[in-house]
């Protein structure tokens, strides 16, 4: 039955916060070396404020995870788990300990790492305090879960939005992301904007030409790949009803374009800010068009993948092909044409929204 609880409570948690975990793994592995981790751990063990910071991070993570699990229990599909309350406390404790250990794996690994550094440097007080804190956090987690199971579920009352009573079709995907995948938005936007800013920073030093920025935009577009995967899934599964409706190609393009441009608006604004002179208007237009079409092309590729081609090869191939085109100074609008073509072909499909 352990697999059953992992499938029901652990995997959905990691899926929902995938963006956050990718970001954490990216920072702790790509941007930090092992030596820096050791230095940081020693600092945490020496300095009380740093140590309190780690405890605060543990508690914040726990609050997020617990909030997620309690909200998950309120989901109509999870109502069947109300009967977990029928188990004896030791059995429920065993189940919840297994779920908790898996959802808190990253924190526990870090706690083990801190303890190891503490052992090496003969400073064991803080690691012992940390493990007591971890135990306390788990006790709190279990108590909240236990009392949640004993009580009735809250009623779901659908109330009409006062500010935006009718959400336009093009905004539905954003609304879905904001409601169900907020961490994906945060992670993608954070990584994309930090990366793009880095490209602009090095460009401003004067050693590069516009091809450097185009390469940065290409990388930023590929960072959006998980979002376009989610969009294709959302369109195919949650909007499948609309496949039956007669929707003209122009209307389909307009709706898709609205969702995509809205999502990449921060990057487009950044391009506008960085090239804000009058004579640079054409560059802004050129780069914006290039960035929009790269994202449209990626969406097109994801659609094709779900139909017949091997997307891993296609995605890697597309990246290097565009990279070479940028390197050999192929005009941006010409490169953008390929992205647009892939997008229109994908949207033209009658079995796509």
């Amino acid at each position: 039955m352990d697999d059953f609880y992992t499938k029901s409570f652990v995997i959905p948690f990691y899926k929902a916060f995938l963006g956050f975990f990718i970001l954490v793994i990216l920072i702790s592995t790509v941007f930090m070396e092992f030596k820096q981790h050791v230095l940081l751990a020693e600092r945490v063990l020496e300095n009380d404020q740093f140590f309190l910071g780690v405890l605060g991070a543990f508690l914040t993570f726990e609050i997020f995870q617990e909030r997620y699990q309690l909200n998950q229990m309120n989901d109509l599909r999870y109502r069947v788990f109300h009967s977990l309350a029928f188990f004896s406390i030791p059995k429920l404790l065993k189940i919840q300990l297994s779920i908790w250990t898996k959802t808190h794996a990253l924190l526990l690994i870090y706690a083990v790492f801190l303890s190891y550094i503490g052992l090496q440097s003969q400073s064991l007080l803080k690691p012992i305090l940390l493990w007591f804190f971890v135990l306390g956090v788990f006790s709190l987690d279990f108590s909240l879960f236990y009392f949640k199971l004993r009580r009735p579920f809250p009623d779901k009352v659908i109330s009409k939005a006062i500010l935006f009573p009718r959400i336009p079709f093009g905004f539905w995907f954003l609304k879905h992301l904001a409601t169900n995948r907020p961490m994906l938005i945060i992670a993608v936007k954070l990584v994309s904007l930090i990366l793009l800013n880095g490209f602009f920073f090095s460009y401003e030093s004067g050693g590069y030409d516009l091809r450097w920025i185009a390469f940065g935009l290409l990388c930023a577009a590929f960072i959006h790949f998980p979002v376009w995967l989610e969009k294709v899934r959302f369109d195919a599964e949650e909007l499948s009803y609309f496949l039956n409706l007669p929707r003209f190609l122009f209307l389909k393009i307009r709706h898709q374009l609205t969702s995509i441009v809205l999502f990449i608006l921060p990057e487009l604004i950044l391009i506008g800010i960085k090239f804000n002179g009058e004579e640079l208007g054409l560059i802004v237009l050129n780069l914006s068009f290039f960035f929009v079409s790269m994202n449209l092309g990626l969406l097109g590729l994801v659609v094709f993948q779900s139909q017949h081609i091997d997307w891993t090869k296609a995605i890697i191939g597309a990246f290097f092909l565009i990279f070479l085109m940028i390197l050999f100074s192929v005009p941006f609008y010409l490169i953008a044409f390929f992205g647009l073509a892939a997008f229109i072909l994908a949207v033209k499909n009658p079995y796509r929204i």
Binding site: M1, F4, V80, A85, R151, P152, P154, V157, S159
Partner: protein, 210 residues
Amino acid sequence: MLEISHFKKAYSTGFELKFDSLQLPKGIHLIKGENGSGKSTLLKAISGIHSFEGEISLNGISLKLEPIRFRKMVNYSDAEPMFPDFLNLDELIAFVADTKGADVAQIRHLKTELGIGDYAKNPLASYSSGMLKKAGLILAFLGNPQLIILDEPFTTIDVETQDRLKKLVLSYVVDGKSFLITSHLADFEKLFEYRSILEIADGKLSKVYG
């Protein structure tokens, strides 16, 4: 057996279901009412899923004072059952059987009676509305409940399963179980010999028969 007093359930939308007292002896009871009249609201309150004002007790055990003991005696099948779609029915059955103390023989018997074969190995995401209904129904019959609540049990399932379900309900009644069934279908009244027929309209519950 089932006693309800000073029941009130109100929503912020303005909908309210309110009645002073209800006593239902052992047997099959029918609750009628139009769509949105509050039948499911009452059933979810009785099964301990949603909160309410007032008092509900079954065989002298209060839902508010001893919620776990009470809920162990009541099984519930939703009108439109929903489950995590990545799980399969066999996994769900194994879980509910574990919580309700159902044995393998009972599971096998119920799967045969409701016409659930090897399809139970498939993820619930692939189920039709009829199969989802069967999934909800089999879970409601597991274990040794005193009261089984079936919300619109005959909608979406095929005629053959409807007949089998009817026989299953009757066999459970012989074993001393009680049923609270809802329907908005006109010909439903002839299906069983009800101990009582209740009707919900305009936020009020009234006894039509029994």
